[in-house]
Structure formats: structure tokens, C-alpha cells
Subunit: 121 residues, 2 copies
Amino acid sequence: MAPIREMLAASPVNEQKWRVLRVLVESGPLEQKAIAAEACLLLPSLTRILQTMEADGLVSRESDLEDRRRSIVSVTAAGRAVIENHADQSNAILARLEDQFGKERLDDLLRLLDDLQHIDL
Amino acid sequence: MAPIREMLAASPVNEQKWRVLRVLVESGPLEQKAIAAEACLLLPSLTRILQTMEADGLVSRESDLEDRRRSIVSVTAAGRAVIENHADQSNAILARLEDQFGKERLDDLLRLLDDLQHIDL
DNA sequence: CATTAAAACTTAACATGTTAATTAAATGGT
DNA sequence: ACCATTTAATTAACATGTTAAGTTTTAATG
């Protein structure tokens, strides 16, 4: 993750906020519980992170009319721009990683980690 | 890691401090840089953690006479007791994990993670 | 239909994560 | 010996991690 943090050092977001933006760009507007699950964050952390991201104009929130406990979060144009501005660099880092570590080994690792998450107890 | 945190909930240490104690029990007295590397902690975090652990009587520190920049950290009897009191539970958790996830897959995962740590750039 | 339980955040309090700056001591080169 | 670098550890400032408690709204149960 060190290269990712280097890449983000000159941007307005850190690793966590970058993950939130990516989730929202990929999946569209989401409730916070879903964002937390996708971005591997706990709800209290996400609450704080979204507060600063909203203040920075990267996301917007509106309460769900179907269920007023929920709030639906959307990425703004500025937030989308952050992702798009780093897409090339991000892809280059992934390509370098696959090259040096091996795509198959990387896939194996990610699959093992995902399996481990859903087991235990 | 959830079962480990459950196990430690009733003890005087959290996950990080538990790792520090395990490293010291396994390797004997160490300088802080070595502890940080073994326990996957950054030095500023370790500095704070050791301050509270020393205040709690779990570790002791003395400055290295060969190189007075370094301080050598040792585990106390009380610190060793924390590890020994949880050794059975800890081993049971590992055995359960190997049973449910598969020892070979667990070994594969750990090896891949270790390799990944030493690559990149 | 009233009450209770559950769900989706939110807040609070404290610990750790992270980066940069600082201190003190050891090294290296001249 | 002198001075610039490097190293080990600390401090500071702010962000996130984590657990527990609180709020509001919805669902469940009697």
C-alpha cells in the first residue's frame, strides 16, 4: 500500500477516503452500512470521514425517504474527479505489482483473504 | 482476529501489546526497532505503547551501554504471566482456525503475505 | 395498538496509525 | 579532531480504529 499512499500524498484524500470514493464511483449512491462493508471501515470511522468529505465537497448525503434512519451517500463531480485524476497512476501501480508479484499469486492471495474473512468463529 | 480480541478483552492488554509481549517472550530482550519490526508497529506507536506497558509493570527498559541511543526492552514476570495465562486459549484458537480454514491454506496465505511485504516498489 | 426489540447511524472517549519535526548519540569522510 | 550524515528514539498534531452508549426510526410481538 506504500505506493498508493505516495500517490495520494499530493491529493486531498487519504487511503480510506480514496476507498470510499472508489466504492461510490463503482456502485453508485449507497447507504453508509454498505459503504462501510465495501471499504472495510467501521461505522463510527465512516461517520467522521464522511463529515469531512462532505465539508470538502467530495460527497453529498440525503436521507432515504423509504427509511428515514438511513442516509444515502453520493459522490460529487469533484469526488469523481479525484478518482479519475489518479486512475492512470493507480492502474500503473497495480500493473507493476502484478508484474513483480505475479498475477496468479496475487489472485490466490486475494481469494485466500476473502475466504478467511467469511470463515472463523 | 476477532476471537483473539475476545480472548484479550478480559486481560490488561490489547492486540498490539499482546504482540509486543509475545515477541519479547520468544526472542528475549530487544531494542525497540526490532520489536517494532516483529510486532508490525511503527516506532511512534511503540514508544507510546511501551510507556503504558512499563507503567503497568509488564516490561522494563534500560539503555544500551554499547550504544546509548538504544534502549533494551525486557518482559517482566507479570508480562510473561499474561502470555502464559492465555497460551491455552491462544493455541485453541489457532487449532480451530487451522481446522476450519485448512493448515495448508493458512500456510500458503502467510507465505504469500510475507513475500508481498518484501517485494513492491 | 402498545410495547419491545432491532436497525442505522451518531457521539464520546480513549488507543493506535501516520507523518513530520526534534533530540541525542554514533559514524563516516576529510 | 571536525563536521556533516545517519540512526534510534521521542514528541507533536491530527486521522483513523475500537468499544460502548445514545438517538431516531422501523419492525416484531403480544
